[in-house]
Symmetry: C2
Subunit: 337 residues, 2 copies
Amino acid sequence: MKKIVAITLTTASLMAGSLIQDAKNVGLTPIPSSQTQLLKLIDNPKNPITKAKVKLGEKLYMDPRLSRSGLISCNTCHNLMEGGDDGVGPSTGHMWRHNPHHLNAPTVYNAVFFGSQFWDGRAKDLEAQAQGPTLAHPEMAATKQHIVDVVTSMPEYVKEFKKAYGENVKITFSKITDTIANFERILVTPAPYDAFLNGYKEALTPKQKKGLKTFIQIGCASCHNGVALGGEMNVINVAATYKYMNVGDFKGNKNGMVKVPTLRNITQTAPYFHNGMIWNLKDAIKEMGRIQLGMKVSDKQAESIKDFFGSLTGKKPYLRMPMLPASTSKTPKPNLN
Amino acid sequence: MKKIVAITLTTASLMAGSLIQDAKNVGLTPIPSSQTQLLKLIDNPKNPITKAKVKLGEKLYMDPRLSRSGLISCNTCHNLMEGGDDGVGPSTGHMWRHNPHHLNAPTVYNAVFFGSQFWDGRAKDLEAQAQGPTLAHPEMAATKQHIVDVVTSMPEYVKEFKKAYGENVKITFSKITDTIANFERILVTPAPYDAFLNGYKEALTPKQKKGLKTFIQIGCASCHNGVALGGEMNVINVAATYKYMNVGDFKGNKNGMVKVPTLRNITQTAPYFHNGMIWNLKDAIKEMGRIQLGMKVSDKQAESIKDFFGSLTGKKPYLRMPMLPASTSKTPKPNLN
């Protein structure tokens, strides 16, 4: 009996070896296991990651006072304690207004790996992205001035900005959003899938390996590739016959294209699609087969791909709950209307 | 020169000694420095504090899926990263509705020391309190069934309940809210003030000592006493000529009484009063003098008392940002309406 098991394992390992190659051939790329390589990948030369910026950026990310109402922080829609998103259909912000196009808040985890940000890819990086929701009216609904006034009203924040950028720092709106983005850059979640692609062949279960094979074979990786398994500006043509176009009026970018979302932590980020209309992961897989690949994905195939998705659930960074500085008499008052 | 300083210090120490006694005489009580004594003070024999319960309770406290919308957690209004409150006027919840009586969300920090909970004191302890906002319509707007369904839909939660209460635990609404309350019991924030009352005479600055003296002399401690410097059911008679009664229609308890709020971390919990109508701490101090003590508190006295309040800013417990379990197909869907 022992002998048979041994043989089976060897065969599985050999198969795994070729599976890793197959995965790499279709553009699937792991999060590097080397911290130096990872840092190179997530860093922005124009906004280099430093401990001081990350620590401050986390506070700003968590601070609801940056919003007009004083109630909505970045974390409200991109909740780090959940899947880095909010788990509801349309993004819901100031005065309970929903995103006018019924857009679903995407996860912030691993967003650093995206080639562009927002569903229509209009922002080139996290620094540009962070400027959007802070000012958008159905989201945080603030003004640049409000945000600068809030931050500069608290000596503790001013001190931390000086620590991060030097004594002569000018605390501007873009300096604030750059700092938030700096924090977001570290939000990567290495998963068993990465260990597997990095050569640790037993990191995936047999079922997960089978699922990965199916994923590659039916062509999912033609869009869901790169480090994030998504995130490049391509492919979902919502201008075409998209079944759920009757929800929201999002037209994608000027070419009618919608950004492919990441599949990392996908089991934690329902509901799915840009309009958050599908809750069940198997349904989502089948729907993508139908619309994007023009094929019927069987129940068995969908189940198998879902098994694989389990290996994409990553380890979240260890974060301390930050204590935000106290408001002062100079801090702008929240406006609930 | 040195000699004079030495003499001054000795006099200050002597004065401090009598100030400690004066403070104790008017019912001011420190958070005990002994962990055993503290545990005795914050524990509930019917719901004893355990690590497993606290860890689970923190997750439940942070989990917005307990609310009808999936967007509002206990932490939304009682934000542990701020002063344990939300920093806005009226408590604002489901569908952006405000508390119908314009009530301000009180801090959860040190609420364990209160003799009763809610502004009208209708709940006898944190366990009873936690049942309110989860179901209240302008707050989390859930039903008992929804909350039980959410929690039991996630195997990770079920496992943690078993760990906390034993294999045969029945996960009921009250078991869930008891667990949240168990976590809230540890949210105490020892401050320099406590070190002072516990005998460390130099824990307060000379200005803070002077402020404490003023605080005692003009009679503030007749209501703001005990460990929380407030929290007993007494004294603010809103049925009387309360200047801000034109905001909201809160009548207090059946005797027209409103609970005295804690002064701990008061510099972090603006706006003030049950209706959150005063933002400036000095104004709040003067207003209380006028209404409660029937006296004009001078600008100098108010400033001095405010100095003392600085010594009530405590050390918050070190909390790790919890990772919440992923929703499953059985988890009730959020309802934004």
